[in-house]
């Protein structure tokens, strides 16, 4: 199996090419990129780190879980390392016979990956500060 984490630039088209087929009429592709601001602060870039063996295991579980809920083919990749604004952070590709399943599975996968895969994000701001991003808190961002 292709690994979930990637230390190199992710090509969304290459991920999308891993799904589909003559009996699948719908492909839904999600591409998450680094935004130039977060909570009102200007962002220069960020660094993703992961607990790698657990991230691979959890991602594989999530994919298996999605494929048991929807008759779909799934491919997922997540970047680790230093990213600049506009760089691809995550790609989720889903194909299914019909679009309903493809949309539902793709959105579910993105949510599940964000919630359950041990990956962390340290943002670099335009003012030179840095902070770990804590989606569970409004105040836990500690300037470096």
């Amino acid at each position: 199996m292709t690994s979930f984490l990637s230390g190199q630039t992710i090509d969304p088209q290459a991920v999308a090419a891993r799904v589909g087929g003559a009996d699948h009429g719908a492909v839904v592709l999600f591409v998450g990129t680094v935004r130039d601001r977060h909570n009102g602060r200007a962002v220069r870039g960020l660094t993703y780190s992961a607990y790698e063996p657990m991230a691979e295991l959890v991602a594989a579980h999530i994919v298996r879980d999605a494929c048991s809920q929807w008759p779909a083919l799934v491919a997922v990749e997540h970047r680790v390392g230093a990213l600049a604004v506009g760089d691809v952070a995550i790609v989720v590709a889903v194909s299914a016979e019909h679009r309903g399943a493809a949309f539902a599975a793709c959105e579910w996968l993105v949510d599940a990956i964000k919630a359950r895969v041990p990956i962390w994000k340290r943002e670099r701001y335009a003012d030179g500060q840095e902070a770990w991003v804590d989606p569970t808190s409004f105040s836990a961002e500690t300037p470096a």
Binding site: G32, Y48, S49, A50, Y51, P53, M54, A55, L57, V58, H78, A89, I90, V110, I113, K114, A115, R116, V117, P118, I119, W120, K121, R122, W132, V133, D134, P135, T136, S137, A140, T142
Partner: protein, 81 residues
Amino acid sequence: MNRFSVRLFARYAELFATDQLDVELPAPTTVGAMISALRARPGGSALPTTLLVAVNLRQATEQTVITPADEIALLPPMAGG
């Protein structure tokens, strides 16, 4: 007493200024006892009240029993995607 190793990531690695911490505890013990020991260490008071712990790559509870052979990891809130 036995030596347990705990892997630390992201903000927790910063709190303890290391990515791996050794803790002496009688074996077998539980994740809950391990957490209490970590809170008593320098930097440990800044840990949040709710902690996510993985044992052998799987999410554990405070009741999960651990031995020195287990891979234990303290996971900050996930922020992928």
